[in-house]
């Protein structure tokens, strides 16, 4: 049973053309995260939502925005994609922010974004 679903799995967009990536979850978790992962690098946290509270990482470019209209869905909007934004984008959820031993993150399969 899929718990964290990301659509599409592969996305191609043009330089400067806005793009939206989608994530949904069936776990009813409070927290949803968006990570950017470039080849052979660690996943980098962009931002997270705790319920409706949005928390942006200090070094996340303004070009990246997010929306969480309800518990189940979270969107990543890239307003003007550049070539450097080509990456795998991972959505994750957790029950709570404490991220303790029994509260690990559940990841979706990712969306691979290509910018042409």
């Amino acid at each position: 049973d899929a718990m964290v679903i990301q659509n599409p799995r592969y996305q191609v967009t043009q330089f400067g053309k806005p793009v939206t990536l989608s994530c949904s979850q069936t776990l009813n978790h409070n927290v949803m995260y968006w990570y950017q992962q470039k080849s052979s690098q660690a996943p980098k946290l962009l931002f997270h939502y705790y319920d409706k509270d949005f928390n942006n990482e200090a070094d996340t470019p303004d070009n990246f925005q997010s929306r969480r209209p309800n518990t189940s869905f979270c969107f990543l909007d890239i307003r003007s994609p550049g070539l450097g934004d080509a990456a795998m984008y991972l959505c994750a959820t957790s029950r709570d922010l404490s991220a303790g031993i029994n509260d690990e993150q559940y990841f979706g399969p990712g969306t691979r974004l290509t910018v042409t």
């Binding site: 996943p43 922010l97 991220a99 993150q105 990841f107 990712g110």
Partner: protein, 114 residues
């Protein structure tokens, strides 16, 4: 400074032997560590964890060791199986003033050769 390092990008091990994946961190404030396993075309999945109050945690073929003085942890897989071939991420947890933060290492790609 808050970094989690996995200095070996890849590792090859013969089936049945031990696989040892290493992880180093830079800040003694890291509290919990989790290991994630990632197959191609799938998201990372939780494998095993360890709290900073422990030095060892075991779950079947997987054991994680934590050496706080050296700021080092390692994941041991015994015996290694071909199905263990995947990328393994070490993840540290540190509490910030406003919210909790998790930091991933870059991963180690394990190949178990039949």
């Amino acid at each position: 400074d808050q970094q989690v390092k996995q200095n070996s990008p890849s590792l090859s091990v013969q089936e049945g032997r031990i696989s040892i994946l290493n992880c180093d961190y830079t800040n003694s404030m890291f509290d919990y560590f989790l290991w994630y396993k990632k197959y191609p075309a799938e998201g990372p999945t939780f494998l095993i964890s360890i709290s900073s109050i422990k030095d060892k945690n075991e779950d079947g073929r997987f054991t994680v060791f934590l050496n706080k003085s050296a700021k080092h942890l390692s994941l041991h897989i015994v015996p290694s199986q071909p199905g263990d071939s995947a990328v393994y991420f070490c993840r540290g947890y540190i509490k910030k003033t406003s919210y909790d933060k998790v930091i991933f290492g870059p991963g180690t790609s394990l190949s178990v050769i039949p």
